[in-house]
């Protein structure tokens, strides 16, 4: 397949403009208005600066769009971008590690998508081209005719499953919060009196208020308890409303979650407003993560993720083998979609004897810091009331720490906050193994086991805390064995 030198679809120019308005004009203008007040004497200057900034950003958007070109030859993609500092990159097609497409509702209507191409070494390029061209390109890059054989395996989730996904979709929650805040602000401005949120007198007072943000903060009575109660109630309403909106967004996003697999790759597709489409070669899957957030664990669910070599952190965060699955179905899901992996159980755990060490390590610095700061103010000592949080965190670390290593995989489990993560990694992607022992651990005959993974990041090391020292020699020789195998 070859293709002449082209630019992104013209619609992308509108997106550049939209991004600039969203990322620069709105935040700067909002900040200026909140700082000086909308009715201040600086209003003409703010308006002037706003227009000037708009013109500069419009020119910048056009030049960015105009200078980004690409051409696809038989074995090479020629890509160039940059306005003042031009950069041309020739990418051999065999260096492409994965392809994923994203689009928005508007782009879908006119039949175009963002094509993201991940390269060996972690670089990423993207073009905005028609879906027809994308399909041809995908077929040429690493998918053979067998690609068409399997049908999509559409997953449907229950009410409780959508609810659980909502509790972990922080990005969607932020989007919902933003929508709720906007709606609340609109209602307050236009229907505040009718809804009983403010009196007519308060409304007139607010409209004539020329104070800036700093002045408002300085003149607020921070000792008034009713002020905090009002803020607390508004905050609680916002959170509940945001979760409700987030639930709808989660439903819309995951209701069409599809996963397809062939011998060579898996394809994951979901999303409605912003659609995500991943093509992952199976051989590039480095590890599988079984993620169990606190609420998932309570209801007996988990989430299965794949770590793909060449996928950036952002894309990786959106790549699920299954966003939610019952725990007893994990093995069958892994066998079906990623049969190169096995859900091997962790075999070595820290013993109950080391539990006090885990808790001690978590609280000692908090205690020292609080005592130190209490030297400045006695109020800091109230911080000791929060000590159980760190003790629970230490307990969770102990409870979920685990390790096993076989001739094919290293499996380790650990906790991040209240979330339990089990990481199953292919042996060929382990870069080094190590053992760490503190003075205290020597006495308890335990050690922390760590291993580094082949990664796009400079450092990606995982450790399993306070496992018996009996496996130390075997673990340190783990990769040596591979050489002899």
């Amino acid at each position: 397949m070859s293709m002449k030198k082209s630019r992104d679809h013209i619609i992308e120019l509108l997106y550049h403009l939209y991004d600039n308005i969203k990322n620069f004009i709105i935040p700067i203008t909002t900040f200026a208005i909140s700082l000086f007040s909308a009715n201040s004497k600086f209003k003409p200057y703010i308006a002037g600066a706003f227009i000037l900034l708009g013109i500069i950003l419009a020119i910048r958007s056009f030049l960015t769009w105009y200078n980004k070109t690409y051409a696809i030859k038989d074995k090479m993609i020629e890509y160039s971008d940059g306005v003042f500092r031009k950069k041309r990159t020739d990418i051999p097609i065999h260096n492409i590690r994965s392809i994923n497409t994203t689009d928005s509702l508007f782009k879908r209507i006119i039949g175009i998508s963002n094509l993201n191409i991940e390269l060996i070494g972690g670089d990423e390029i993207f073009f905005v081209i028609s879906n027809k061209k994308i399909k041809k390109l995908k077929e040429n890059i690493f998918i053979g005719s067998e690609y068409q054989k399997n049908k999509y395996n559409k997953s449907k989730f229950s009410f409780i499953e959508y609810l659980l996904i909502t509790t972990t979709s922080f990005r969607l929650f932020l989007t919902s919060l933003s929508l709720v805040l906007t709606a609340f602000s609109f209602l307050l401005t236009h229907f505040g009196v009718q809804l009983g949120l403010e009196t007519q007198k308060e409304k007139i007072h607010a409209e004539n208020d020329t104070r800036g943000m700093v002045e408002k903060i300085l003149t607020t009575d921070w000792t008034d308890a009713s002020f905090y109660i009002s803020i607390g109630i508004v905050f609680a309403i916002m959170i509940v409303a945001s979760y409700f909106v987030a639930y709808i967004l989660v439903y819309v996003t995951y209701r069409n979650f599809n996963i397809q697999y062939t011998e060579k790759e898996i394809e994951v597709m979901y999303g409605f407003i912003s659609k995500k489409h991943f093509h992952i070669p199976r051989s590039n899957i480095r590890s599988i993560r079984i993620v169990e957030p606190f609420l998932y664990r309570i209801f007996g669910y988990a989430r299965i993720k794949a770590d793909n070599i060449g996928l950036n952190d952002n894309a990786s965060a959106s790549l699920f083998i299954m966003p939610i699955v019952k725990k007893d179905e994990i093995d069958s899901i892994i066998n079906k979609y990623t049969p190169d992996f096995k859900n091997e159980k962790v075999m070595f755990f820290p013993s109950i004897r080391v539990l006090p060490i885990f808790i001690f390590k978590h609280v000692i610095w908090i205690i020292v810091t609080l005592i130190g700061l209490s030297f400045i103010s006695n109020y800091v000592l109230w911080g000791f009331l929060l000590l159980p949080i760190w003790m629970i965190s230490g307990y969770m670390k102990w409870k979920h720490s685990g390790l096993s290593f076989t001739s094919e995989f290293i499996t380790s489990s650990f906790s991040s906050g209240l979330t339990k993560i089990t990481l199953i990694t292919k042996k060929k992607y382990i870069e080094s193994t190590g053992v760490i022992q503190t003075f205290i651990q020597k006495h308890s005959r335990t050690a922390d086991y760590e291993y580094a993974l082949y990664s796009e990041r400079l450092i990606e090391v995982y450790d399993c805390l306070s496992i018996s020292v009996n496996h130390k020699k075997e673990f340190l020789k783990y990769l040596q064995k591979q050489e002899n195998e």
């Binding site: 870069e431 080094s432 503190t438 130390k472 990769l479 050489e483």
Partner: protein, 156 residues
């Protein structure tokens, strides 16, 4: 097992003392300008105790670090052991090493010693401090193996 150079201990101690003196000077400057404010000097006192604690633990740790530090290069594996109060043992298969470099810090230059840094695709390791001929020899051996592995991959 090969040991690192004995003067490493002196270099680490000098580096720790330098860090201590830099923070001490910073605390002194803040005290000079804002020492009259009660909570500021209390905060500075806490800071001073903290950097003093770090200095003492570092000096003790360096003593053990020298005792513990050793390394061994075989045909397939580089084994590194280091650390003072906390001991680290690492095994790095040579075919996983992406690149290595030799580094000389300000203090190691005084003693004509070098640090050998080894990078894999997921972490990095250091052998500090060793004589130049030892560092060069280690680096050459590692590069030879890396080149051999790369050639084999290219043939495939």
């Amino acid at each position: 097992m090969n040991k690192i150079d004995k003067k490493s201990k002196v270099i680490w101690n000098l580096e720790s003392i330098q860090t201590f003196l830099m923070f001490f000077a910073g605390i002194g400057v803040i005290y000079f300008f804002f020492g009259d404010i009660k909570w500021v000097w209390k905060l500075l006192l806490i800071g001073l105790l903290y950097i003093l604690y770090n200095l003492i633990t570092d000096l003790i740790s360096h003593h053990f670090a020298y005792k513990n530090s050793e390394y061994q290069l075989s045909d397939e594996i580089l084994f590194i052991k280091n650390g003072g109060l906390i001991q680290y043992e690492n095994t790095i298969p040579l075919n996983r090493i992406q690149h290595s470099d030799i580094e000389q810090s300000f203090y190691s230059r005084i003693f004509d010693l070098y640090a050998l840094n080894i990078y894999t695709a997921g972490d990095s390791h250091t052998i500090e401090y060793i004589k130049k001929d030892v560092a060069d020899d280690l680096k050459d051996k590692i590069i030879k193996i890396i080149t051999k592995v790369t050639d084999e991959h290219e043939k495939e």
